[in-house]
Structures are given as C-alpha cells and as structure tokens.
Symmetry: D2
Subunit: 469 residues, 4 copies
C-alpha cells in the first residue's frame, strides 16, 4: 500500500559496544535510535569474552527482542544492525549481523553500504569452492576473511576489505575484539562514542545519548578502529579514496538531531529551505511541510520568504503496515491514512508545500489533490533537493531507473504537470552543496557522477535500463 | 513506563454509519481517525437489517480487526467505539459497543462521556434484580432501556437517557435504526456527516474525509438524531441544560485538523499561543514545542514573540509499549525513547518550551533536564492552558487529586521549582476562553466549577481526597 | 475438516476448589484432566475472600492460561469450566464461568448440562426488563438468582434452580462460598474430593489425583453442596426427580479411568464388548479398535470371541486443527491424517473393527475403505452401543435429526451398506443396560424416552425435523 | 519438564518428491507422517525447475507451515526434513534442509544420521578457508560438494560422500535433480515410493499413503537414487560397508505401521513381547503397557503368558510443552499430566508393566509409584529391549554415558531397586535379534560393538566418560 512514503531508503544502521556491562541491552537501545535506517530486520551479536551469542529477526527492534531474548545475549561487547531491504528479499536469512565460525574462531559483522564488486568476487570465490547462504553482498567479506593468510583478526579483516570496492561502514565482533571500519570514501556515516570506560560505535550520534554515553568524534573515511583488552587504536590500512560522504544523508536519511562529519543535519536542512526560497520562490499565503521529513526545510523556506509557516498536514501516529481497504476503493486511500489536511488553514489560500524529495511522484500527486480538496486556491510544490535521476550503488535502495519520475518525465515542468501542482521547484545541485557546506560529497543520485567504478562496463547501464541505447 | 505522555486522556470516540455499503469497513476506517481518543480497546457492531454482528478487542483498531474479521461484520449500518481506560480496568469485558438482547430484540451502544449518577442508578437497578457484567457506567443505560415501558426504540432510549445525568455523546444500533445523542450540556463533541445517500456520525469531522464522506453539521447539545428506513429526523427529548462543551477538547484532545461546534481547533491552539505570549512572555533565543501536542500553540507563541520557532525536540515514530530497560537504569529513560533534543539548535541558547498542559509534572521535569543536558543556557516552560487542579467527571481520565502537580504544589513558582525551569508560565482561564472564542464551555478541570451536580454531597470531595477537610 | 471424530460431544466439564492454597492453579490442572469434555473454551474464576478474579478464553486449557495469567487469579477458592460448542457459537462471550455483579455482590457459575425450559424463562425475564449478553441457556440462571428474594446466596441459588428444568451439574462461586449442585435426575456426573483441609469438586474423579487430592464420593442427584468458612454441608432443596444418569457417559464421554456413580467406566466398556460379542458375533481373524474410544470395548469383544486383539489402526499424536489440504484432494484426507492402518496385520485377513458409536457414518465409511485398501478380505463393523436415533436435550451436542445416519437410514442393513462393511452390528439397548449395570439411566438418544418434558409440545418434534409428519 | 518421555530420540526424518504437481504440499503431508522422528524443527525446499524456494522453522510441521507459506513453495519437486535436537541446540540456524549457492548453482540437502568424522573434516575445511554457519555435522557435506572437482551434481555428491563416514540417509535437491542416498551400512531407513508418474522418497513407508502414493522398495545400503528429467536411475558409488540397520528402529523409533527392510515393525515388536515372556516371565494378574510405545510388545507378552492384556494407563491427548507447575510441587507432576492409572483395573492386582526401553529410569520409577498408589499389590516391569549402556554415534540422541541408568547402576537388580519394582526383566540381545529376524543390524547401544570407527582413539571413551579408566 502507498502510505505516502515515497522515499529512497537507507539500507542499514550499525551499532557497537565494547567494555560496557549490558552490551546487548545497550545495543538494543542504540538500534532503536537508528530504527529509521532500517525497519525490516534487526539483529544483535554479543560476546562474553568466551563465545558469541546471536539473535536476529524480521521486524522492528522492539518486536525482534524481548526481555528473555536480551538475557540470552550476555557479555560486555556487542554489535547490532537494522536493515531495510526491498520487499522480495525480506528474508530472515539476509538479516545481519552475519555470524560464522572459521579456522580462527567465530566472527560476526554488520554492514551499512554496498559493495560494487561483490558479484565479481562472489563468482571467483564460488569457483574456489565457497558456498553462499544469503543473497547479500556482505557475505563475500566473510569468505575473504576466512581465506586470508593474515595472522591476526585485524590483518584478515584489513586484507579482506582491501579486496572490496564500494561503500561500507561496518562493525565486526570476535569473542575478544570489536572492529569498526569506514570505507576510504566515507560514503556512509560512522561515529565513535564513549560510555564510562567503554567505547561505542554508531551510524549516528543521537543513539549515544539514549544509552547514557557521549559523542567523541566521527570515524574518518578509511579509518579502522580496533577495541580489545589493550584499549582502542586507530589504523589506516587503506589507500586514500577521496571523501565522498552521501549528501542525501543530509537531505533525508539521517536524524535531524544528528551532526555528521561536523555538520548539523538540522542546520543543513534549514539552509536547504533558505536556498530553495532563493532559487524557486513562491508567492503564497502559507508554507506547509510534508511531515516530518519536509518540516525543517519548510521552516527555512518560510523564514526566507517571510511567509507564515503552518502545520497544514496532520500526520497520524497510528499507521501500521496492514490496513485493509474497502472493496469500493477510496481515493488516495494510503496517503489519507497517514496525512490529513487542516481545512481551516488551507481553504482559499495559496499554499507552498515543502517536501525533501520526489521519487515516483505518485504520493506528491495525491498530496496536491488532497490540499486542493479542502479548498486551497493554488498549490505550489517545492523540493529541498535536486531531481533524483540516478540509482545509488552505495547502500541506498533506489527504484530502477524507469520508476524514477525525474528519469521518465524529462523536465521539471513535466513532473509538475504529473503531480498537478500550480508550480514545482527543485533545489539545484550547486545550491544543495552550498546548503550543506564543506566539500567531498557523493551526489551521484542527482548528478550521475559515480565516485567508484563499476564491476563491468555495462552494469551501470543495465541497472539504469539503458543497455541498447 | 513514563513515555513522556503526561496528559489527561479522552476516554472514548464513537463513529456511526447508516445506509452505506460496507458499513463495518467504513467504521473501521472512521475509528482509525479517532484512534487518538482511545488506544486500549476498539469495537464495531453492524446490522444487515436482520441481526447484529459484533467484534471487540483490546488494542489499536488495526490490531483488533483483520480482513477476515471485517468480513464477518456485514451490513450497511454500523457503530464503532475506541476506548481509553485506566490500566486496572483494561479488560475486554469493558470494551464497547455493548450489545445485548432484550424483550424488543438486540441493541448495541457506544458511549463517549461519563454518567455522574451511575453508582446511584446501578444500586437501584441491582435492588430490582439487575445483573452487571462490566464495571462501566454505560451498562446502566442498557438496563434502563430494557426496563422502559416505551413503545418504540426511540421512546425507550429517550426514557433511559432522561434518567441519567452527566456527559454522553452516544451511538445506538438496533437491527433497523441508528440513533445518535449528545447530552444537553454538549460536554463531548459529536458531528453529523453524509456519504452518498447514507448518514455518518463521528466524534470528530476529519474521520468523514477518510471514508469519502463530508461534514454536514455538529449534533447540537440535547439533540437526538434517528436514522431509519424512513430517513433522518432530529428530536429534542431532553430539557435544556445550558451548553458546556469541554474546553480541553480545544487544548489537547481533539485533532488539530478538526472543527468542533464551529471553532477550528488549529486556530484556537494558535491563539492560545498568542495569548500565552501576552500573559507570560519569555525573552529567549528560540521557541520549541513539546511535539506534537504543543506544536500549534508554539507557532502562535513564537509569532507573537517574534522569536524563531524551531523543532528542538525530535519525536520517535517507533515507540511501542514494551521497551525493556537495562538493569543499570538510564536517566529519563522513557522520555528519551520518545523525544531527543537537537543539540546544535539548543546549545548555549535561551529556550522557551511550549507544552499544552502539565498533569503530574514528572515528564516536564525530564524534558527540562534533557534540554539543559545539551547545553541550553536557560529553559523557560510555557503552558498553553491553566493549571489543571480538578478532576473531570465528564468522560476524561484524570489522576486522583493528589497526583495533580497543580493540586499538590500550590503556586506556579512551586511547580516551576519542581520541574526545575528557569521560569514557568500558564495561560489564565480568561485568556483560554478568549483564545477559543464563543461561550458555554466546561472548564471545571481548571476552575472547579462543575456544571452538573454529583450523586451525593461528599463524592466530589472524596474523589479529590479532601474528605475530612 | 473431518478428522475422523464422528462423535456426540459432551458440552462441558466443571471443577471447583475451596480452601486450598493456589486454587486457581489447581483448577487449571483439574481442567486439563477434563479437557476431553470441552476443547473450545476454558475459564477460571477465583476468590481471595474479598473479590472475584476471572479469565476466560477460546482454546485448550494450556493455551488459554499462561504463568502470568495464573498469577492474576489469586485466592484459595476457585471454579473452572471447559466448553465444547457447535462451531457457529464458538464465541468468547459464551465462555464460562459467567461472572456478574448483582445486589448482593459478585457471583460466578459454570454449567455442565442443558436447561430445557430456558427459552420460556428467557422470554419471561426479558418481558420483565432483563438483558442478555450471551446466547447460552445458563444466563437465565444468573437473572433468576438476581431476582430472587432469598436472604442468603444459598437461598437464592436454590430458588433459581427450582425454576429451571433439565440437566445441570454446576459450580457457583461468590467471594466467600463455593456451591456445587447436581440436578435431581443426575443427568451429568459430579464428584466430591478432598485435598488437605480443602474440598474439591469435579465432573470426573481422575482430576483429583493430578492435584494431589483424593475422591470422596459422588455428588448425589438433587444434592447441593455448600463450602464456606464454617465447613461443608449438604442440602437437598429440590423435589425428587428419579435418577437418570446419562448412559452415554459410560459409552464414550467419560475418561476410561473414571468411576462414576459407583461404576467403573473401563469395566462397563469392556462388558459392552462382551455383550456385543454375544449379540453380534463375527467370524474373523483379528479384532481391532478404532482408537482410542473403541479400544476397551474391543478388548472385551476379542476376549469373548477368543479372537486375537490387535492395534490395527495407528493414531497420530500430532493432529491439530489447521491442516491444509492440497488442491488435488486426497481420498479420506482427514481420517488419514489421524489414523493409519497396519498393512502387515490386516492384509488378507477378516477383520472386526470395534467403534463406540456411529453418528453420521461418514468416518466409519472411510475407515472401512482404508482397511480394505491395505488388503483386508472382510471388514465387519461392531458398535458397542445402540443406534443413536434421537437428539439429546440434556447437555450433549448432537447433530440435528436429519444428519444422524441411524435416523436417515432406517435399518442396520442400510447403514451397513452406507459404510460399505461386510456386516454391521449394534449393541441392543437392553444389553447396554446390562453391561453398565445398576439402573436409573437416561438412554433417550437411543430410545427416544426423554425423562424431562419439553417447553412446548412441538419443540421435540421440530428439533427432530418431524413437524408436519 | 519430565513428561514421562524417557526415550532415545531419532534425530530426523526426510522426505522427497520428484515430478508430482504440488510437491511442496505433498512434502508437508509426508513430513506430518514422519513427525515422530523430529518435533523441534521442520523445513521444505522446492524447485520449479528454475530456482529453489525454502522455508524452515522451529516447531511441528503444522505450526511451521501455513497455507500462504505453502503457496510460496511452488514446483513439482521438493525435499523436506523434520529434526529432533538436544535443547541447547534448538536453533533455527540448525533447521534443515540446508540450502546454499555455489559455483554450479543452488543445492539443498536434508540428513538423517550422523557423520563420525565431521569434526576432523570441519577442521580441515576451516584450515582451507571455509566458513561454517551452523553447528551441525551436515554442513561439512555442503563444503565437500562445493570443493569437489566433479563434473556433474551426481559426481560432486558422490565425491563428497566418499569422504565422510558414519550414518546418512539423505535427500538432495538442485533445481533439476532429486538425489537420495543411504550410507553403505544402511544405519537409518530410507524408502522409495511412487505416485502417478512421480517418485517419492521417505524415511518410512506410511508417509507414502497419506499423499496417495505407494511403496516401491527400500533404498539399499550404499545406493544412490537420482531422479531427473531423463527418469530414475540407481547408482552404487560407494564400496561395500556391511549392512548395519539400526535395531532400535524396530524397538521404538519407527512407526508400528511401517515395514523396514522387509520386516514389519508391528510384528517385530509383538515377537519381542513373546521373547520377553520366555526370558523373563511374570506371574501376574494383568499385563499393561506404557502407552503407546510399549503397547505392541505388551500384546505379545500377554499372549505368550496367557494373562489378560489391559490398558491400565490412560494417556492424555492434550499434553503440550508448556504446562505450568504450582509452587507447591505435585508428586510425579510431569508423568501425571500424560499418564493416569485405571484404579478399578489395578487395585489389589499383581501387575506386569511393559515398556520398550529405560533410559534414565526416573520415569519408570514414577510410573511404578503411580501404579502402587492406586493399590496394585505387585508391580513387575518388563522391558522389550536389552539395557541401553552405550551412546549412539549414528544419528540418535542419547544422553551422556553417566545419565544412562544401565551404565550407572551395574546390574538389573540395582536398576530394579532404583525404579522400586517388585521385579525387572530386560530382553537379551540375542532374543532381540531373534525377534526382529534377519541379520546385519547395529546394536551398539546395547552391546558397545560400533560398526564404524571413530575419528580418534579416545573419542568414544571420552564421550562415555571413561577416559582415565
């Protein structure tokens, strides 16, 4: 059902604890704070110094783990993972952390990102007699580790990672060590925290607060952090990659209360709204967001336009996944379950609606209609990011090229007609970079400039549905 | 667990359909839009003109009903109910609609409100040989109907209602008739809607939109609406009561997108913020709401103060009821699961936090602390309603007098000290009335002026813990 | 699905505890031992001397109650109930014990049996303003108690029971008293047990052993046993009825390890087999039972025939209610899930199959076919009771007259042809009485001689489908 | 909880279908008939000729699969598995069939048995870089297949199996082939069936009947059966091993209605009873079995002793796994939940109780006590197999040597004293062989003669707790 959630989806979040009492429990709480990064599966692996304990399941963190389950995850070190996955693959076998035994004991790992040479590596490993139990790209890493001649776990993990390309913010756990790695491009975020004498790792800093810990610093691109009984050390086993943090984390994925690589997500989103007002102003009576993801940019937009900001769409807190539609179908059913317009605010008004992005366009079209239905005179849509024209190969679930409205409908005008808005405006790529600030970002989904090469010449084209062109 | 939901709770919402195809299914959707009025139990009774079909259960609407369950609720007329209840009474037997057989066939009813002479009536009925299966005040009505000598269902329902006092917005269903009644004071809202040739009844208008219907008008205090095969008629079987619509519906209970008795809830809340700025201004750098209930008033407050409005507290969409706390307890655990401050926004700032009400004060105290923890220089709390000093006897679940912080701690200063704010300001009762506009409200929870007398002299005092004073 | 369970079904079992520590828990165990008397719903009500606590649910005893649920049933007195009901009525609202409040406090009751004047009484009560929440005949009793002018609970219960007719073995619980009553005819069994200083009540004695108690004696027809703080006393508030214990309890309903009214069920069943051998001998190579209900009679039959007894049909221990049949349907699917023939035992043999009764005949037909399929030369069916031609009105669920094969197919020969047996033999009514021994039985389902009159002249005929004949 | 199930447990059952419409559904039914071989996990993998589909879960077959789940298992070929496992390992990851991808596509396998050189092979594979996801010995086979240089699936499977030792009745599935193999010793049973034009494989023949198929022949020790589009062929890729079918299958594991390797299990069990009467007669009034596993032997014993056979212990059909015991513990609680003695049959009698085996002795002790409690004068226990002194390494779960009562208590007299019987008699090993008939059995659990060598000299001793002796 279309519940008005027309977004790219981050594929995962990771969390790690070393040297803190109830590590499994803290990981459970940390994952709760990363729940927005993956709602389809969750898992935790802990170690008590002697062996690993694991539990994984499909669903939200609070559904996968109960009190009895947490008690079966003892130890003072742990890693955890939340996963988003496309519907066809929503299988328990793909839930992470993966945990296996090999010649040097047990090892578990959780991965946020996507390896761009996984198919190639998998074929090669299979030729050498490896078996695969999942359809996930992450599994090749376990084989590379197991086949490495490295003397220590750190050597073997570094050895394996030197063979893969693409995006990976990862946590590894053996019975004695916690290892956290961020790929040389730093595609996905990864942070280091502290808690009493222990160390924390997380995709985003706000998760440190819930467990009573605090943010220390971002893990740097290409950095490997190793925690064991002798303390914490930082290694740099990779050649430089050039920083390419995903700019979409600032647009939509990350929590607004997070600061990533030194930049406040909240501030960046507000500046996107300001830039948007500069590039695509709208003469309106009221500015409203599509809640909650468009709210911060809408505040910036309204402020820059000196136009009143109002919450013109009310979001339900009770929308689960299993609503039943009557036989005589209701117009815009899914979106209506989640969003409802405030008639008294919108009737007779010229309205600017701010959203963070448009992927397929169907939800935007329904929202525009819903606002007109309560009597808005004009509906102007403003999007706080550029048109999303290219799929992501670095850990974001994007629909195939043909489904992207910005790919199908060439121009902004065409898209505006499709969603039936009185006007439509996107932020430019340059303005987005200005709004976020700093440099070294991956903006491939907007620009098509992919910082990491593909496995084979035609893969990119094939995935975009362009082979033969 | 304290999840930061320190509010009075509306005890119920009701919905009704007459003459529209899949009435059970439409009621299911209507109840979803009233879910905020009761999350502990839900029920639907339908009629196909020949007999009644019922299903009730504990939990949210989407959990109580599945596709197979809705198919077992055939017919083109239906009533539904969502219920909030204090924890001790969260039993399936108290779920509504009640449905019974009596001499004249089957009748079902759903009640939003509270009868103030229920104890007295129940004792009298028991003396005459009646049995009671629930602990709900609503059950006395069924007995009064069954014992009435009235010739028609309408006569018997009117006869029964003439014997009760207090608050009731109710829906009744027999196999042929739908009856909706609002008590003479009009304590709780009730609205009439239309859908094709059919009629709709609901506690709040936005639920009409989801099923594709439209708002017609409010049911008036003292009005009884009867729908049967001969059409819809309006009766006035009660003596005048003087209108006393619950003013707290505008403060917190109702949806912001609702218009009740001609007044937009959104507008009223924004004006509360404006009035609050006049009465209790705060020299601050930023105004933030406690989301979502304080958001609209905060917009008004910020506007009136010409101070930036920001979303300084991020609310989680994933908080269920069963979070497990670690043994080594975490400070402000429950509130943190639900709310997280945006450090980059609040650090070093003077902050005004706007909430709609303070009941026990413990949550406010945790929120103030949480904001200080991220470095706010000053934290000023502003409440868009007066201190809640008195329990409600008209359908709102209020803690006993002793738990109400405004009852325990005499002055605003004392409360401010308890929640550890740099300053605390409440809206005055007069300003609240100004903000809502119009007249004829019950504000007993703020003022102690109860429009309907109690069953016995000491009841009020006893409930307030004041007997002996 | 037809799982080969073509039987009449006892509608209920009851259990009671007075003055024994964990009374709710003991009742849970007692009900487990009565599970064969009702698998569709179970309930327990306890008292701690101050108030009643109740829990009811659909399903087996072990599914309805968990550890946390049992802890919410405190007190040293309790009653419990297991219920069988026809599919259409398998609703939670009909689960027992019923528990209500009335003028003199709370009362709960559990009923095994059926009241033959319930419709009449219900109509009269409704005329006087009573409401009914269930479709069960038991609910009239609660109203009669509530309307009684009796001074004590015992007076009111006796007063109410004097107005009903039919079959009732019942347990009542108030906060201070446990009352057990068996109707003057003694249709259904009821026993008294002891446990330390406490008293036990049960439909069948083996349930006493599981809780560590012991059998004291049968409750006599027309006896009312009252347990309160002053001890146990026996009353006889009813006029004599003439004993009419249900003879089918000995044929099938009761546990084989029970002794009811002084007669061992196991012994009676074995004697039925012996009598059957006398009346309908079969020249065969092997005697096999339909397990488990035909096993004891088959032992008697084989012994009397001096023919080897073998377990030629293996019964699965893993058959639940939800088996899914493939699209390409399998012959005798349901019966095969539960029973499987031992080919090596039956191939080439003349086989006598002993069953306790035949209701619809469809299962017997499948069993005969299944035995032929593995190569039996002849299949002779012997039934250890007479043809069941008449419905029961005293607490047994019997199909309507038209479904009873002995009603539709007049003669034993016709039935034998329907089930495709080489021969078919039933026990005669006289021989059944001889086998059980003693006298004073109800055998209405075999003979049509109903010891208690019906509410109105034509009811019996109508229920039998004979009106107009 | 001790539910009176003091038995060795078979570790698994396997089923396979090739070329029959709803293969997944037929496998579901076939597994139901093998449920006694494993109740802790179940799984099915199907193929539609293009890819494999898998579902596994913990619990009974009927709980693991629902209608929707079966629809997601399309195709006309399938394999299935039921699993028993010791409690500590009851994890979803060990459920079978295992299914992996490797260089030549996908392969799934289900295993009944135990590999005696798995630890050795696993260590060697790990040294070569293999990873392991389960703790099951079966996983080594997948690696051996993946690393084989064989050209075809058949070559690779044969190559892998030539490297393992021990017990294996297995089914393999690729998208195009079904392969079934029984180890050269034939430790565990395996049968071939037919159904229309399709082929069936099962651990025991009765499962063929439920799906409408028929028994063709036993798979021979050392035989590999391959089904693909060109038909069925039989291969013999292994060197001869000498037949060593598990004799305990006839004593307890197999269904009584099964015929394995040409011998009827029912007949064999009856002959065990006859031999037992010859070797250990008992002068008693009545012979009763411990149901259901002792029943067939008890029939033989009673017949040979010319003593009446009776069902003196009634077994409950409603015992699940989650019964809650009251705080004030009940004597023999677990056994009582499942078995209840028929007092009227046993009181004052000399009783012979026939069981198929005694493992720990605690259940037997409780049963003897329970029979005495209802007044038996003497209780003589007779066991239709020899004392179980040695653990099994070929696919049966046996407690460690120290828990085996026949290991701890040297003599039959000592064991008799422990279980407090008036006398105790076991069948001799020679008589057991006579009863089963034929030759070529493994009787290691009775005799200690293990037909397949162990991985290292001391393993056997260590597992028996004898190292150092």
């Amino acid at each position: 059902m279309d519940l008005g959630d027309d977004h790219f989806h981050d594929e995962c979040g990771v969390f790690g604890v070393f040297g803190a009492g109830e590590a499994g429990h803290y990981t459970y709480l940390g994952l709760h704070m990363l729940q927005h990064r993956g709602q389809e599966a969750a898992g935790i692996v802990t170690s008590d110094g002697k062996q690993l304990f694991a539990h994984r399941g499909l669903g939200l963190v609070q559904d996968v783990f109960d009190a009895a389950g947490l008690e079966r995850l003892p130890g003072d070190r742990a890693i955890g993972h939340v996963r988003y996955s496309t519907s066809g693959e929503s299988q328990i076998k793909n839930a992470q952390p993966l945990a296996v035994d090999y010649a040097h004991g047990s090892i578990a790992l959780g991965h946020n990102g996507n390896l761009t040479n996984a198919v190639e590596l998998r074929a090669s490993l299979e030729r050498d007699g490896s078996i695969f139990s999942t359809t996930s790209d992450t599994e090749v890493l376990v084989h590379l580790i197991a086949r490495s001649k490295g003397r220590t776990t750190v050597d073997r993990v570094a050895d394996a990672l030197q063979q893969v390309r693409g995006a990976y913010s990862m946590v590894f756990l053996t019975k004695r060590e916690l290892i956290a790695v961020r790929d040389p491009h730093g595609f996905r975020p990864l942070c280091l925290g502290a808690m009493n004498d222990g160390h924390l790792i997380s995709s985003e800093p706000p998760s440190f607060d819930l467990v009573g810990g605090s943010f220390v610093r971002d893990v740097e691109p290409g950095e490997m952090i190793v925690c064991d009984e002798s303390g914490l050390r930082s290694l740099r086993p990779f050649s430089e990659g050039g920083q390419h943090m995903c700019i979409f984390e600032y647009v939509y994925f990350a929590r607004p209360d997070a600061r990533l690589d030194g930049i406040s997500v909240y501030d960046a989103r507000k500046r996107m709204g300001v830039e948007l007002a500069r590039e695509c102003p709208a003469e309106v009576d009221v500015v409203i967001p599509v809640p909650d993801s468009g709210t911060t940019a809408a505040l910036g937009f309204a402020e820059a336009m000196s136009t009143p900001f109002e919450l013109g769409l009310i979001r339900s807190h009770y929308v689960g996944r299993t609503f039943i539609e009557p036989q005589q179908s209701i117009r815009n059913f899914g979106v209506r379950l989640k969003l409802h317009p405030v008639r008294d605010l919108l009737e007779g008004k010229r309205v600017a609606v701010i959203d963070d992005s448009i992927v397929r366009g169907t939800t935007s079209r329904k929202i525009v209609q819903m606002i007109r239905d309560v009597g808005a005179r004009e509906v102007h849509v403003r999007v706080s990011s550029p048109p999303t024209r290219w799929p992501c190969f670095y850990g974001i679930d994007t629909p195939s090229g043909g489904e992207l409205i910005a790919n199908r409908h060439g121009s902004t005008e065409d898209i505006g007609r499709f969603i039936a808005a009185d006007s439509l405006g996107y932020l430019s790529v340059a303005a987005l970079h200005r709004a976020v600030g700093g440099d070294g970002y991956c903006d491939a989904c907007f620009s098509g400039d992919y910082p990491v090469a593909f496995e084979e010449p035609n893969q990119k084209k094939r995935q975009l549905g362009l082979v033969g062109v």
